[in-house]
């Protein structure tokens, strides 16, 4: 890992501050995190940076160290929020990579402003309503079952403290805050926008849809539906992996992502010449 730790910064927007991690040099990659993982710089992120990209990983409103942005109430508000974030960062047409909840935001962003997306990568994205393959209710899962749901092969060491350990009050409150933010955007319709599927044809960026083979939270049919509806989308599965994705198989997920980003360099795009100098 050439550069080591990412830099940490705060973007000042009208509605509050956005916390952001950044590392690497090269074409910009906007990474939109899952419901878990805000503010976490994982070897997966570093691997993308090491492959020659500048990775920018903001925390969503009400997650990690970002402010609440109470006026961001629903998925459409999140789209406008991220257009603001892209403008503030000077990102005219970045690569956009989204995981799970962040994948939903990425897909909505690409539907809303197809011309602002250099390439799109969806990692087991939420966002579709497929009644015959419902998403597990993450809000009702107790912590022990959550781990079993997220991993193909749940780690032996418990990720949550034993019931006998004194509760870390700050950690409990922080987790409740993030769950509250997720619920704000996705309690009902549950983790989906019923109109999204029929809008996916608007996406013009080269797209890759990746699914872990054993996703017990968002059934793999969701990824397949995305791949079928996004024009020209490629599809890949990572075997022996659960919804935790890059927490369970970091190298495999990083390889899929960097392969797609490298194949679809922003400079090869017809708009690139017109944009040169316009972006940062």
């Amino acid at each position: 890992m050439a550069d080591g730790a990412p830099t940490e910064e705060f973007l000042e927007l009208t509605g509050g501050r956005v916390h952001l991690l950044r590392a690497g040099t090269g074409e910009p990659v906007l990474f939109l995190h899952a419901a878990g993982g805000a503010g976490v710089w994982h070897p997966f992120h570093q691997a993308i940076a090491d492959a020659g990209f500048e990775v920018l990983a903001p925390d969503h409103p009400g997650f990690g160290k970002s402010d609440e942005f109470p006026e961001v109430e629903a998925i459409d508000d999140l789209v406008y929020h991220y257009l603001d974030v892209m403008d503030a960062l000077g990102l005219a047409r970045p690569h956009v990579v989204g995981a799970s909840f962040g994948g939903w935001i990425a897909a909505e962003l690409a539907v809303h402003s197809p011309h602002r997306i250099g390439s799109l990568t969806l990692l087991s994205a939420a966002g579709l309503r497929i009644p015959e393959h419902p998403v597990t209710d993450i809000f009702l899962l107790p912590p022990a079952k959550l781990v079993a749901t997220l991993y193909h092969d749940p780690p032996a060491a418990p990720l949550t403290p034993s019931p006998d350990a004194p509760p870390d009050l700050d950690a409990v409150i922080a987790a409740y805050r993030e769950a509250t933010s997720l619920a704000r955007f996705s309690w009902v319709p549950y983790l989906s926008d019923p109109k999204l599927e029929r809008r996916l044809g608007r996406i013009s960026a080269p797209a890759l849809v990746v699914a872990p083979s054993d996703d017990r939270l968002i059934p793999v049919e969701h990824a397949r539906r995305y791949a079928a509806r996004i024009p020209g989308a490629a599809y890949a599965e990572v075997p022996d992996c659960g919804h935790a994705m890059y927490f369970e198989r970091p190298a495999e997920f990083a390889a899929k992502v960097t392969g797609h980003l490298s194949k679809h360099s922003l400079s090869a795009h017809p708009l690139a010449a017109a944009e040169s100098g316009a972006s940062r």
Partner: protein, 390 residues
Amino acid sequence: MKFSFFHLMPYPYLPDDFDTAYDSCALTYPNANFDPALGSALYARYLDELEYADQLGFDGIAVNEHHQSAYGLMPSPNLMAAALTRRTSRARIMVLGNAIGIRGNPLRVAEEIAMLDLMSGGRIDSGFVRGIGWEYFGHSINPVKSRSRFNEAHDLIIKAWTSPELFSWYGESYEYRYVNLWPRPLQQPHPPIYIPGAGSAETMKFCAERKYTYMSVYAPTRIVRRWFDGYRQAAADLGYVPDPERIAFSVPIYVADTDERAHAEGRPVIEWLYHKGLRQTPEMVTPPGYMSPGSLRGVLSSGMRGLGVSSYEDLLASGQAVVGSPASVAERLGTLYAELGGFGQLIGLFAIGPSTHEQVMRSTELFATEVMPVLRPLGTKAEVSPGAST
């Protein structure tokens, strides 16, 4: 002191393996376990018990709203209140309350309470509750919006009851271009309002500002004392001393002829309520956004334990249930009265678990004839010094 008979209308027929097989008797507890024939008989029996309390001289008879649960079989408290309007004549009919946080159309609540008030000859007390955690799952209402929906629905209902002219309503959750209530309620300006509190300073202030009755829910005496003091302080901050009737203590009660018999019969009833009826996972109790992070911190650091873990003895000692002979119950309630700094209404939960009809009737009768007269003089004056009880 005013006394109310509160019926939870439980479905007590849980399977023998309930404790190991199920997380809760709500939300996901299979409705295949509901026997409609038994349910039909329960409704008839439970309404009889409420009507009997009216005949015995209780000041109020109370029903509430719960959904998708064996804990309580009243998805619509207003239906039960409607049944009671025709076969009772004295007691106030207390709807404690309509869960306006989860209702899709709060104007309907204003209409139904107005109807009930007319049908009962002005005997309706109208409680408003947010609805409990699992109901936000069950009725697919975003718990993040719970408090704002509650506040907006409350404001809309009060205005609908009291506005002498048609008005329009443009709110965060509700929009009505024509609010023009027909019929209007009999009581003026509107039926008395009851709000349950569970420690929120915001709720205490809300009630004190409007002189609403503030009622306790399941909690140990030391915590209910904090809530009542908070309400009294909120009133003091506004420059007045609340009428004792505005403070209502609600508690499960079981009375039998002797202490021995009361505990033998009451123990399984109290244990059913706390260990089965109220058994829930933390995720059901506190869905995201149902509490603010600050309130959650307050609850977690207050040392309140989960409802399912307290033993029968702990529940009695902490004032979360009162069981005994009439003399023992009167004495215990007098003690709690002093420990809580006084209250002017006692809302007794007399029908809460697998008790038989005969047991409920007897417990209710003993309370009315032998306990109420002893406690009646309490709670009529505002200032109560500790130890003033009998």
